[in-house]
């Protein structure tokens, strides 16, 4: 049973759907519209009519055919078939279907009215048509149908009157009028009622729609606000907020375009910041100058919104209108965006519909914009807040760092003297961890010797707020040793936030050590200084300093011994004053050299002793550039100098003598050899057998001459050697005058012959301690020489003088003779066998002998002479040789 039911239901549903599909094929109307329902009713009529009409159809047809009215039967059938067609066949337009339907029903009803004896069915169908047309078509159609019915009734009344109808006898006019009038009024009533019903329905539906759309709109707006508020809560910055607002306006608010712009007061422009819904190309249009009294200007000045609900008709701005119509914008609103009460921009929304912005909407949008403004304020506040926070943290960090990183220890003690805070430097300085000294009594950490002073000072500052004192105390390190610290203790008990004694101190152990070292050092220095002084004073050499002006600054005690002046007498005096005149020049020179950075250790000069004697001083001097003093050591080398000089003299004498010896040797050998070689030569010649007698004779003569010459040379040699040998004869005082007189006497005859005049002057010194024979020989030879080599025709004048020198004496022999060409003969002057005047006899031995003799006596001989202008011999003896 269930299954069959199901099948039927399934079948029924399929049939229904099929019909629906056919009939409403191309017309899926809006269910909110009345027309939709009308069509639905039509469809249902058809759906139900087709099967249900069978109920009426079969009896009708049966009765029609059995009662002699077949045409009715055919009409019924035809109607039924047509209905089936419009129900089931596809491809017929709905309107067509409706027309056919109404039409066929009218046909049927007319047929029924005409052919049937009773008016019932016909009138029934007329009424039905009215009802159906009201349902299917609009309400006015029903009225038309009613009128049509009326017309038909009237027509039939006429037909009855004129007996055109077949069954006229059953119909009388009166009866017809009575019956048909029922139909007419019922038609109208139905029409009206249905009209009212359907109208009400339509109105209700449309108000429903309106309400629904209003609801939707309100919903949208609330969603919009809600999103905005959410955004406000969740965004952190202006930029994000603006962009999101525009996005929300576009997506959720359903606006065609939304943008936010900022006012640029200076340039009277509005700059688009964020937007949504505007095409790229159009964006620049929005960043533009706003006109005076334009919408933006209005918003800017008044601070309230500007709305235009019908841009095409209301808005004055021409170009705006163009844009608006291009982009399909019907209404727009501009809302002010404030920050901290100042209008900084505008929120612009464009909607497609006209009259989009009603009061409720505007109120909501204002609320939304207000929220945005609020958000901006919040951002601002937040920014400020953050800044201040940052500053506070920075400050705190700074101060914290200052206190904690400072190498100075900062501590707070309470009134009882217990530590209540210490900076980390405590650990660095004293080794304790913070815990090890907190709440401990500070007095335990100070040296017992310093404690009384600390307590006393502390008590003093306790009486006055803000008072402080400085200290240098020893503080106990964790390791047990004392650390010298220097610091201050300040009374800040009344300072808000502190309420403690504040102490600030640092490690001065290094400094203390340095102080100690300094004391030790200065003691050492003093000791060293006194040692140095002792050294200076005990030195035998003068140690002194001379300033750049050449004055003595410091002089050691030795000055007294060496120069004869005490140090006090010398200080402030210029050293150059005591230098021997001749050495002043070179002393100044060397001083300059030393002062330009070339120290000297070997400069010698002569100073005058206080007593006037001459001293040789050896200087070692060094110039100090920065202090601009010369450090000098002066050594008295007078004795040494003398010894040196003597040595030098001895040395040079020795050299000279050895040279002389050499020379002597060669000369002697030569002079010996000369005659010997001659003898040999002659002997050679005598060897030859074929020598002629003349040759022999000459050779023998020559040989004997040579031999006697040889003999002479040997004799001379002997004489010289005698002088040279170290025969130390007795020295005695020899008076020069006496000597000269003796010699004059012995050569009296020669002197007379040559008219020799001898002049003497021995006033300077008239005698000397010497060997008489030598001195006699010297005088004799010199006198003889002068006589011998006189100028022809000029009587010899010989002048003999004595003179005193610095360190000895001189004897001078001057004559007016021939003179000697010294240029030529200087070397050989006193040489052996050197002759300078060959025209005068002589062996060339005279001067040689004189020189030898002079030197034997320890003197020196030198000569000054000019050809034809006389000769002057000077014999010099030094004191120490006498």
């Amino acid at each position: 049973m269930e299954q069959i039911k199901k099948n039927y239901i399934g079948l029924w549903t399929r049939y229904k759907n099929y019909v629906k599909k056919n009939v409403l094929a191309n017309d899926e109307g809006d269910s909110k519209k009345v027309s939709y329902w009308r069509n639905a009713v039509f469809c249902n009529i058809l759906t139900y009519l087709t099967p249900l009409s069978v109920i009426a159809l079969i009896p009708c047809i049966f009765m029609a055919f059995t009662n002699g009215v077949p045409i009715v039967g055919f009409a019924d059938l035809f109607t039924f078939l047509l209905v089936v067609v419009i129900t089931l066949s596809a491809g017929i337009k709905l309107q067509t279907r409706k027309y056919i339907f109404i039409f066929i029903l009218y046909c049927l009803s007319l047929t029924l009215l005409y052919y049937l004896p009773f008016p019932g069915p016909g009138l029934l169908f007329l009424l039905t048509v009215t009802i159906f047309s009201s349902l299917i078509y609009s309400s006015s159609a029903a009225y038309y149908s009613a009128i049509t019915n009326t017309f038909i009734c009237v027509c039939f009344a006429l037909l009855i009157y004129f007996n055109i109808i077949p069954y006229s006898n059953s119909h009388n006019l009166g009866a017809w009028i009575a019956i048909s009038s029922n139909l007419i009024f019922l038609s109208f009533v139905c029409a009206k009622c249905l009209h009212l019903l359907l109208e009400g329905l339509a109105a209700s539906l449309s108000s429903n729609n309106l309400a629904e759309s209003k609801y939707e709109k309100a919903n949208r707006l609330y969603k919009f606000i809600s999103q905005i508020n959410q955004t406000i809560v969740h965004t952190q910055n202006e930029e994000a907020l603006f962009q999101k607002s525009c996005d929300i306006a576009f997506k959720i608010g359903g606006f065609k375009m939304a943008w936010i712009g900022m006012f640029d007061y200076e340039r009277k422009k509005i700059l688009l910041i964020n937007q949504n819904g505007i095409q790229e190309e159009s964006v620049p249009l929005f960043s533009a100058a706003y006109e005076n009294n334009g919408p933006q200007d209005h918003v800017l000045r008044s601070g309230s919104h500007y709305v235009c609900n019908d841009i095409e008709n209301d808005l004055e701005l021409e170009k705006w209108k163009v844009f608006a119509s291009l982009n399909d914008i019907g209404s727009c609103i501009i809302l002010p965006v404030k920050r901290k009460g100042v209008i900084i921009g505008s929120f612009n929304l464009y909607a497609t519909e006209i009259n989009f912005f009603d009061d409720a909407e505007i109120a909501l949008l204002e609320e939304a914009t207000g929220d945005i403004s609020f958000a901006l304020d919040v951002f601002e506040k937040y920014k400020q807040h953050k800044l201040v926070e940052k500053l506070i943290i920075e400050n705190e960090n700074r101060f914290r760092t200052l206190i904690e990183k400072s190498t100075d220890v900062k501590m707070l003690t309470n009134i009882k003297g217990e530590f209540i805070y210490g900076s980390p430097s405590v650990t660095k300085l004293l080794g304790y961890s913070i815990n090890e000294f907190l709440n401990k009594s500070a007095f335990n950490f100070f040296h017992p010797d310093d404690l009384p002073d600390l307590i006393r000072n502390r008590t003093i500052i306790l009486e006055a707020a803000g008072k402080s004192f400085s200290f240098q105390y020893r503080v106990l390190h964790k390791n047990g040793h004392w650390v010298w610290c220097e610091g201050t203790l300040t009374n800040m008990l009344h300072e808000p936030g502190i309420h403690a004694f504040v102490s600030n101190f640092r490690d001065i152990s290094e400094r203390k050590l340095a102080e100690q070292n300094l004391i030790t050092f200065s003691e050492n220095l003093n000791r060293t200084a006194s040692d140095l002084q002792k050294i200076m004073d005990s030195s035998l050499d003068i140690i002194c300093t001379i300033n750049e002006k050449g004055k003595f600054v410091n002089v050691s005690k030795a000055a007294e011994n060496i120069l004869g002046y005490t140090p006090d007498e010398l200080v402030g005096k210029k050293y150059i004053e005591m230098v021997l005149d001749e050495d002043v020049g070179k002393t100044n020179e060397i001083a300059l050299e030393i002062m330009s950075g070339h120290p000297s250790t070997s400069f010698e000069n002569r100073y005058l002793h206080k007593s006037g004697s001459v001293l040789h001083i050896l200087w070692s001097a060094n110039w100090d550039k920065e202090l601009r003093v010369m450090y000098c050591i002066a050594k008295d080398i007078t004795a040494r100098k003398k010894a040196e000089e003597e040595k030098e003299k001895m040395g040079s004498d020795l050299i000279q003598r050895s040279k002389n010896q050499e020379q002597f040797a060669y000369i002697v050998s030569h002079n010996l050899r000369a005659p010997v070689s001659n003898i040999l030569g002659f002997a050679e010649l005598l060897k030859y057998e074929n020598s002629s007698p003349a040759l022999i004779r000459d050779s023998m003569k020559g040989m004997s001459i040579a031999a006697s010459k040889l003999d002479e040379v040997i004799k001379d040699l002997n004489e010289i050697l005698q002088i040279r040998s170290m025969i130390s004869e007795n020295r005695s005082d020899i008076h020069f005058q006496g000597l000269v007189e003796n010699i004059s006497l012995s050569i009296d005859n020669i002197m007379e012959k040559e008219n020799v005049i001898i002049r003497t002057d021995f006033t300077a010194i008239d005698k000397m301690l010497s060997v008489r024979t030598y001195l006699y020989s010297i005088f004799y030879n010199l006198i003889i020489n002068s006589i011998k080599f006189h100028r022809p025709g000029v009587p010899p004048l010989i002048e003999i003088k004595s003179r005193l020198t610095l360190n000895g004496m001189q004897l001078i022999f001057k004559d007016n003779g021939l003179g000697i060409d010294l240029k030529h003969h200087n070397e050989n002057l006193f040489g052996l066998y050197k002759r300078f005047h060959l025209n005068i006899d002589g062996k060339g031995m005279g001067l040689f002998m004189i020189k030898t003799q002079v030197e034997k006596l320890g003197g020196k001989i030198s000569v000054i002479s000019e050809v034809n202008n006389g000769t002057e011999f000077t014999i010099e003896f030094e004191n120490n040789s006498l």
């Binding site: 050998s669 030569h670 050899r673 000369a674 030569g681 050679e684 010649l685 040759l695 040579a706 300078f836």
Partner: protein, 132 residues
Amino acid sequence: MKATDKFVIIDDDDVAIMLYNLTLKHALGNKTDVRCFNMADDGVTYINNELKKPGTKSKTILFLDINMPLLTGWDVLDLIEKMDENIKKQLIIFILSSSIDPNDKKRAIDHPLVTDFIEKPLTVEKLQALIN
């Protein structure tokens, strides 16, 4: 050395001059041209005048002593040095000395004008060695 060569001797020792003369004449014949001077400046003058004459193909041999008063042998050499080339070309100079000072010998040999140093006396043998 030919017999036609000329000899000049400058020496202050007369005896030595005598010896040279005898030796040279004995070795090379009596006709040998030997000029002796005991004054150096005379000798120098002679050389200068004699050798200036053109056409002398033969050489002049000079025996020069060193140790002389006034002008020494070295002085003489210096004077010769200053003479004309053609004069110098004709001279063959020998230092004849009785000096045994090695310095003298060295100085003589090193001197550009001096051909050789001969130790006195000048014997016939030494002469013959020279010729060769």
